[in-house]
């Protein structure tokens, strides 16, 4: 299996072989992070621009570290200090950055489809680091890597995704990826936070958390996106916590092998209690470590391509 795609825009349409290749490669790269010298020369001469039009700590840090570990040169940018503030369009911003001979672009944007738009108008390889409520492919990949490390395979796992499904790109990418890899997915949340026709993605839907958790192997707890809760979709945080918060009491009947994941940042005491987040089922910090390995793998695989004639 060889990597064919030029970009990584989402997991929709990505085949099981391709996902397996990324995860296998990431597994090999994880070892590099344990070395005394945590750096390999694979991407020497490659320049990556990290364009974060939305705030991010983990993802941005993770990408930047992945680039450094692979010896790529990287430049980063955040909206607050850039010419976007002066009204420059996305296309112009990236065209200008590309004119400075950048090979790859990592982009996070609040508009769904922004990376796809870029992929059409620039030559650089584009990696989606989150576009609106659409996709966040590297997050889903690192989630799948974490699960594969623990269970060996994703086939037949019962994964419950809890929370604000409607606003969640993490949920969408996870659904695509997990379904492709043969896991079954249940999405659970209040009706106001479930997208219309979500069943069409091939998932089961539930509004009752206790029902959804029956027989679950994995719970992926989404962050309640406080910044998006201004439209009166929820009566109160307290009520959300009571109905959908993951607490130790709720997990009383859970499988011993249960895994709790969270893409971060955590609202402790809202969607998950500290006892669960820091408890025995939690793999939250493994997810963070695997994130660097997965992003190294994606950068590496996308950096192949036609020989450059200079």
């Amino acid at each position: 299996m060889k990597w064919q795609s030029r970009h990584l825009l989402g997991l929709e349409g990505v085949s099981a072989e391709e996902i397996r290749l990324i995860l296998d490669t990431a597994g090999s790269f994880k070892e590099i992070l344990e070395r005394p010298i945590k750096k390999v020369p694979a991407l020497r001469g490659i320049t990556v621009a990290n364009l974060f039009f939305e705030p991010s700590t983990r993802t941005r840090f993770s990408f930047e570290l992945a680039e450094k570990r692979m010896s790529a040169d990287s430049v980063s940018f955040s909206t607050a200090t850039s010419s976007v503030k002066k009204g420059e369009t996305l296309k112009d911003t990236v065209k200008n950055i590309e004119a400075m001979r950048v090979d790859m672009v990592v982009i996070r944007h609040s508009a769904a489809g922004a990376p796809h738009f870029l992929a059409r108008c620039v030559d650089a390889a584009v990696i989606n680091a989150g576009d609106g409520a659409h996709e966040h492919p590297t997050q889903a990949l690192l989630d799948m890597m974490t699960l594969r490390e623990k269970y060996g395979s994703l086939e037949g796992l019962r994964v419950v995704i809890v929370g604000d499904i409607a606003h969640s790109r993490v949920a969408r990418s996870n659904i695509w990826g997990l379904r492709t890899m043969g896991a079954s997915v249940i999405v659970c949340g209040p009706k106001t936070l479930l997208p219309l026709d979500v069943e069409q993605l091939g998932v089961d839907v539930s509004v009752n958390l206790d029902e959804a958790l029956e027989g679950a192997d994995v719970i992926n707890v989404l962050r309640l996106q406080l910044e998006r809760q201004t439209q009166g979709l929820l009566p109160s945080m307290r009520e959300y916590n009571r109905e959908y918060g993951i607490t130790l009491q709720r997990l009383a009947g859970a499988k011993e092998s249960l895994t709790i994941m969270h893409p971060g940042p955590i609202n402790r005491g809202v969607e998950i209690t500290p006892q669960v987040a820091d408890g025995p089922y939690s793999v939250i910090l493994d997810q963070v470590l695997n994130g660097v390995a997965v992003r190294m793998a994606v950068l590496f695989l996308l950096s192949g391509g036609e020989p450059k004639l200079t």
Partner: protein
């Protein structure tokens, strides 16, 4: 070379390593994927049989250190490097199946140095076929096989290929 020849060559290399280093103290062996790792394990086994010491054996995947990554069309599959011991101050015996241009060895040496500062690095190969493009030579050679550029030397090991042998094949599409 058939299975017997391979076995004899491995045994002789193991003896030469012990002779050159006056024993097997502070000796570690690192094999280069995807055939050198099996040969490394065998060399270690012979040395352990003679010296009665346990020899640490590691595996190195040099993909990320290749000098042609930006030239090839598709990225090769990367496997794990596994050196679960400290190589600082040790004599590292690097083992590969075929020595040709020397570029693989260059990459392997670069990578080893990232793991620590070995006392020395020595190179053992089953087959040396010439055509060097870098100033690199082997310390221990199983067999010198003069070949032309259009030929390929294939080393097969029983762990992967079912049998031990070395064959010279004509490349179907000469460059």
């Amino acid at each position: 070379m058939d299975a017997k020849d391979v076995q004899r060559a491995v045994a002789r290399i193991a003896h030469e390593i012990i002779e050159r280093n006056k024993g097997a103290k502070d000796l570690v062996i690192v094999g280069i994927r995807a055939r050198g790792d099996y040969l490394a394990a065998r060399v270690a086994e012979v040395i352990e049989g003679i010296e009665g010491l346990t020899i640490p054996v590691g595996i190195i995947d040099i993909t990320l250190y290749r000098d042609d990554l930006q030239v090839v069309l598709e990225q090769p599959v990367v496997h794990k490097t596994d050196i679960p011991f400290d190589i600082t101050g040790q004599v590292v015996i690097l083992v590969d199946d075929v020595l040709n241009t020397g570029r693989t060895i260059r990459a392997a040496i670069d990578q080893l140095i990232d793991f620590g500062r070995p006392k020395s690095i020595q190179l053992a190969v089953l087959v040396d076929r010439g055509h060097r493009e870098l100033p690199i030579r082997a310390d221990y050679v199983g067999k010198n096989v003069p070949t032309s550029q259009g030929q390929q030397v294939e080393v097969r090991v029983r762990e992967v290929d079912g049998s031990d042998e070395v064959v010279v094949v004509e490349e179907p599409f000469p460059r």
